[in-house]
Structures are given as C-alpha cells and as structure tokens.
Symmetry: C2
Subunit: 412 residues, 2 copies
C-alpha cells in the first residue's frame, strides 16, 4: 500500500466533508411523518399566530387606563359588560369603565388593551372590583406576536424535531418538501465473521454485530434507509464486485470490520481501484477510531469503519454521521456536546489525538459526575454500561479529576 495518510479530526471535517454534496432530490412528506427529515426549502407561514389578540389568563379584559391606582385597599370599580366565550368573537366592543370576562385563550374585545387576572378581581353581580393596576398589553398576546404571515419559520436544511411540530400544526402546514433520505449500504468484512444468529458456531468464529447495529442506528436515529447488503470474506475480487454494485444503487457505502493491517490494506486498495478521487484518508488521529478509512467515488462517500465495537461506535458518531447528515442536506452536521459533566478521575491522553472516553454518569443535587470506564475497546459489556462519551480535544494532555468536560450522548 502507498504511504499512509492520517488526518486530524479537523482536517476530515474541513477537507473530506467539503467534498460531500447534498443529494439534490426532493420529496413531499405529510407533517405527521416529517420527524427526522431535512427540509429542502424554507417553510413560510401562511397565517398569523396568534390570529387575534388573545388573553393569556382567566380574568377581566379592561382598558388599562381605567385601572390606574387600583389596589386591594382601594379597588377600582368597573361595570361588568359581557363574557367572551372561547372560540367566539366578543359580542361587543368594550366601553370606558367596563370589564369583560375572558377565559385563557379567548379573544380580547375591541376597546380593551389588558387583562386583569381573576385573582386580582372580585365580581358582585353587575360590577367588577379591580384590585391591581394594570399596564397596557399585560396578559395579552397580540395578533402576529408569535409569527406573522410570510415569515420564515423553519429554514432550509433544518432537521425536523418534535419541537417544530407544534408550530407546523398550529400554522396548518399539512406537508413539507424534504430531502430524499440517503440510501446507505453496509458491507461487513472479516474471515472470522458469521451471521449473528447461527446456531452452530466454531470457537474462532465471531458473530457479526457491528453491521446490524449500524443499520438499526441509522434507521432509528436519522430515519435513513440503511441496508446490511452482504458479508464478504477477505477476498479482494468479491469485495470489489459488491462495492461496484453498491455504488450504483446506494448513496453512501460503509465497510464494517477488518481491523487487522491486511484487511485494512485490502479495503483501502479496493476503494482506490473503484474510481476517483478514490482514497482520501487512510486513518484518523483519534482514539478509539483510528483505523477509519475515508474514500469518495464520484460523489459517493465510502467509509471503512474499524472492527472493534467501541472504535466502531466512535467512528460512526464522529465521522459517519456528519457525512450522512451533510449528504442529506442538513445545515449543521457536526456533532455537538449535550452538556458538560464533572469528571471523577484523571484521564490521560496522547497529545495530537482526540480522545473519546466512555463514562458512566451519576447525579447528586444537580451535579452530574462522570466516571471514566477504562477498559479494552473490544469490551461490549463495558460499552453497554456507558452513558456517553467525553471528548478530550487534540492538544490537551488529559483532564484532571473535578474538571468540567464535554459530554456526547450517542444513545438517545
């Protein structure tokens, strides 16, 4: 194999990701099915929110000037005018020195500019005592205050999350134009690998977990179309055949497994032989996850992920997901931490590499403590125990017990 090229995480983000272009195909999805899709064009509001001046509390709509100086000891006395029913228009305008009952969410009558909460009033038949001075606009949400017709409410490149749904339903948006989901082929390699559920397994055989886990991950987390296409024993010719076919039918290809030098060399060689630009980076300055291979054939990313399960997970999170997110048109595609946590022990690191360390979290009075799980990166029981990863950036020599460190949560 020609000279190995290892890249920093930053180089991969800047150089490799800049070569990945969004799939330029759009489909329509009903809003109810739009979660996890990436919007293809700005979503523009076709109506105002709220559509009318709305009371935010149960109380009496008033003209604020009429309540000047009101207090529990010196209440202002207003005439009861009418009741506004929720969902209806007020039956009349409010005249000076009048108060109208408005439940939460009801429309404020013309002539009123504020609402006094029911707790600060007292009703006696046809009169209402106001026991609190009220400012203009108090307890009122003005029409258009939230959203005005013509406003961009969701920008192109946003991945739809639950928080967007309220807005979309409230605006009556029935469908969205979104990017077509990338189709991802997963090819597993390794002479020792067998299907996960075979009954009779040789002692030296290993059940395939990475490729099936990845397929579940991509389907669940991003709603992608991920297919575990085949298992290929370490056979250059067959691997090439499979990959040629995948490049025709899929948008991105992942080769899972093969951590030994020999297998990695075969994978790299085959990627290089498939077309141009071919092999981009032969590894990453990251731990775990170093033996990750980055290729590109025409506009299709092809990644070789390490075989060790923990390396595999880190590499998927740090490299593969950003690639796939960019491919799907998402505007922000780099991993972001979900918060900081206080580390319970010193964690050493090798300068010049990024480190991702598994941690187990515990909670004490609003303080979140992360205990590093030092262990072999092949340990699956250890991985299943981890609540997240902390990141030790390149150029840092390690972190000390008690420091706040970035936490990345891969599992939710």
């Amino acid at each position: 194999m020609e000279q190995l090229r290892f890249a920093t995480v930053e180089e991969i983000y800047e150089n490799y990701l800049s070569m990945i272009n969004p799939i330029d195909q759009v489909i329509d999805v009903p809003t109810q099915e739009s979660i996890k899709s990436v919007v293809f064009s700005d979503v523009v509001a076709e109506e105002d929110l709220p559509g009318f001046d709305k009371s935010l509390v149960d109380g009496y709509a008033v003209n604020s000037r009429d309540t000047k100086g009101a207090s529990p000891i010196m209440p202002v006395v207003l005439d009861f005018a009418f009741e506004v029913r929720i969902g209806d228009k007020p039956p009349a305008s409010l005249r000076p020195n009048e108060a109208a009952w408005v439940p939460t969410g009801a429309m404020i009558p013309e002539g009123a500019d504020a609402v006094v909460m029911v707790e600060n009033t007292q009703r006696f038949g046809k009169i209402v005592e106001i026991m609190k001075s009220t400012a203009p606009g108090e307890n009122v949400m003005k029409a258009q205050e939230d959203v005005h017709k013509g406003q961009i409410v969701i920008h192109k490149g946003t991945r739809i999350k639950l928080k967007h749904l309220s807005l979309l339903f409230s605006l009556g948006v029935q469908k969205l134009s979104v990017y077509r989901k990338p189709k991802v082929a997963i090819v597993s390699t390794g002479d020792e690998i067998v299907e996960p559920f075979v009954k009779q397994k040789q002692l030296t055989e290993v059940r395939d977990s990475n490729s099936y886990t990845l397929a579940s991950w991509l389907r669940n987390h991003y709603g992608l179309q991920a297919q575990r296409v085949a298992h290929v024993k370490d056979d250059e010719i067959f691997l090439k055949e499979i990959l040629v076919q995948c490049i025709e039918e899929y948008d991105a290809i992942v080769i899972s497994g093969g951590s030994s030098i020999g297998v990695r060399d075969i994978t790299a060689k085959v990627i290089q032989s498939l077309g141009s630009p071919g092999l981009i980076y032969h590894g990453a300055l990251i731990q775990p996850g170093k033996p990750t291979i980055f290729g590109l054939i025409d506009d299709k990313p092809i990644l070789g992920l390490p075989g060790n399960p923990v390396s595999f997970v880190v590499s998927t999170y740090v490299f593969l997901l950003p690639v796939l997110r960019k491919l799907e048109g998402e505007a922000t595609y780099l991993p972001v931490p979900c918060g900081t946590v206080r580390i319970s022990k010193n964690v050493p690191s090798v300068q010049g590499r990024e480190h991702f360390v598994r941690v187990k979290l515990s909670y004490e009075n609003g303080e979140i403590i992360a205990e590093p799980l030092f262990s072999e990166s092949s340990s699956l029981s250890n991985l299943a125990m981890a609540d997240g990863l902390i990141r030790i950036r390149r150029g840092v020599e390690g972190v000390y017990a008690g420091e706040h460190v970035e936490l990345y949560n891969l599992w939710e």
Copy 2:
C-alpha cells in the same frame, strides 16, 4: 369543585408514581426490532465473550518470559513458528523461543501469553526480532473477559438502546421478552380547537397542535402506541362518554388542552366521576406546567395536560413520560439531565416551585453557554428555537449568570 390540591414535583414522583404499576404482559420481539422496548426478564448470556483468547493487535504471539529485557538496541531473537489466520485455530502450539504471527482478532496459540505489536518487531525470514519486553497478558483479551456464559448482561426493566445491540448480536440473542407497549389515548378539548389542516378557519379558532405533537412524540421517542382519539368541545357528558370508552380500550389517557378555569374544572370533575381513586392532584408546583391534572381510575393513569404549548411540553416531559415509562416496566423512569451548561444571564424564580426555562445553546472551545429565552409560554416560534430546558429546583431563588445549571434535552 372541591378544594384544589396542588402538589410538588417530589410529591407527584413519590405518591402518584407509586400508584402506577407496570403492565404485566410480555411479548417476544426480534432483537433487530427491540430498540425502545423494555426487557421483561434478565437477559442471560448463553456463551462466553470472547470465546477464545484473542489478539488485540497485529503482531507476534510470544511467551512473555522469552521477551525479558528486549529493547530496540538489544532485541531478543525468536524463531518464526507459523501464522495464525483470523477465524482459524492456530495450526500448532507455540514452543519456547518461538513467535507466531497473529492479526488483530485472531486466536492466541497455546504456549503464548502475550502479543508484541508489529511496530516493535522485525522479521527476517525465519527469525523475528522482538524490540520490546512484554508483560503476561499484554495485548490479549482472555476468553470470558468480557462476558461469561450465565452472566446477566441486561437487567429486567432496562429500555433497549443502540448500545445494547452490539452485545446482543455478539451473543447471538435472536429475540427478547419485553413488556407490551402501553396504548395511550389522547383526547383533545377546547371549544376553540379545530383540526390542524382545515382550510377555512374562523379568526377565533385555533388549530390543534398539542394532541398531534404528543402522538408523534410518544410514537417516536418511546415507540408507544399513541392514538389521538377525538376532539371534544367543552361538553361534560360527551367528554365522560369518550373517557369511559378510552379506559376500556387503553392503558393510559391524556386529555390535552383546556387551560381556562372552567375547562379544567370540567376535566377534573369528569375524572373524579369516572371511578376510584379518581382525582389525585389538581395541579403541580411547577412553572410552566402548573395546570396539570393527575387522576387514576382503577390502575389506569389519566392526565389532564395544560393547553399552552410550552406548558404542555414541560408537563409531558416532567410528568407524563415518567408515568408511561413506569407503566411500561422501565426500572428508571424519572427524567435525568443530559449535562450541565453555563447560563448567560440571571434567571429569577419563585421559591416553592420548580422552574423549567427554555434555553438556546452556543458552543465555544468546549464550553457550552445557555441563553435563556424569556418569553410568553404561548410562543411556538420561541419553543421551536429552544435547544433544551434548564431546571431551577424548588427552594432555589434563581440562578446567576455564569453558574452551571442542569440541562434537559427533550428533542433528541
């Protein structure tokens, strides 16, 4: 309505949640479809992991005693014995003063107890120079080191996440016994509410967003069977009819909307009339989310959630999800923070109430800054902009700019 009973968050967690019992029904699911299900009984390993002593690197298997004192200047010279192919048994045992080539993942031959990384060796035909002294067990993962046959690998009550899949596939676990998913009925109320996609809407009508958002939330986040059953105008008799039917067919009922006193009173009254124990709490000492109603009819939780979209979201997260998680048999069901963040501004709070404040996050050199989004809790555009919620616990008077606060992430 009889006297209002408002409860602290702790009271709701201790008293109300203790009344919720897991649905005692089990189903089998294939491991590939098991994500988000809660395991009904401990998962026990039926084989060892790894199944054999395994090399963790590419290199030479040796007897560590033979490498004593080896260094780049004074290498130890061993005889090349054979190559172990990955997935195969070693062709022979290793004899003293021999070295065998083992790729990463290959089985260690008998007679060897360590592996010297290829970087610390040099091969010349039939001899191997070892340039580093090696300790027993170095670069070897012993059989059973990860998991031993008979070990509990996943405990009853664990919700399956992606991190568990690697372990399950590696152990050849083909299916899991899990709790049946709760069936959740969502009933929306409010005279002003219309279906989200009606074309001709009166000015004072409001499109239903909460109930549809909740159905998506529960389906997506926990894989529950959530059904938006009906919309009921504020009509006591019809509401009761619908709820009676829901109690027969569903495991839990959510009544969405209705924040005004009148509607809440009707909801509370109807819940109380449905059976026993009936209404448990009439509100919570939390902001937003205060007008949340907690009921229980026989063993079925029935919650009235506030109509304001932000209150609705907070109430769902803080109260409804723990109820549903406990109902599904999950052992840990209370919300946990995803990390801490540094708050950029002072945030006041009312003592004696828990506060949840929307924040927008930004990232600078591993530091995560949360900017509070102060705004009306009806604002949907504001909600869509929020990256999470920070929690100000009861008994705290507020937080100061620069402090670390707990972040809860509802959206991932």
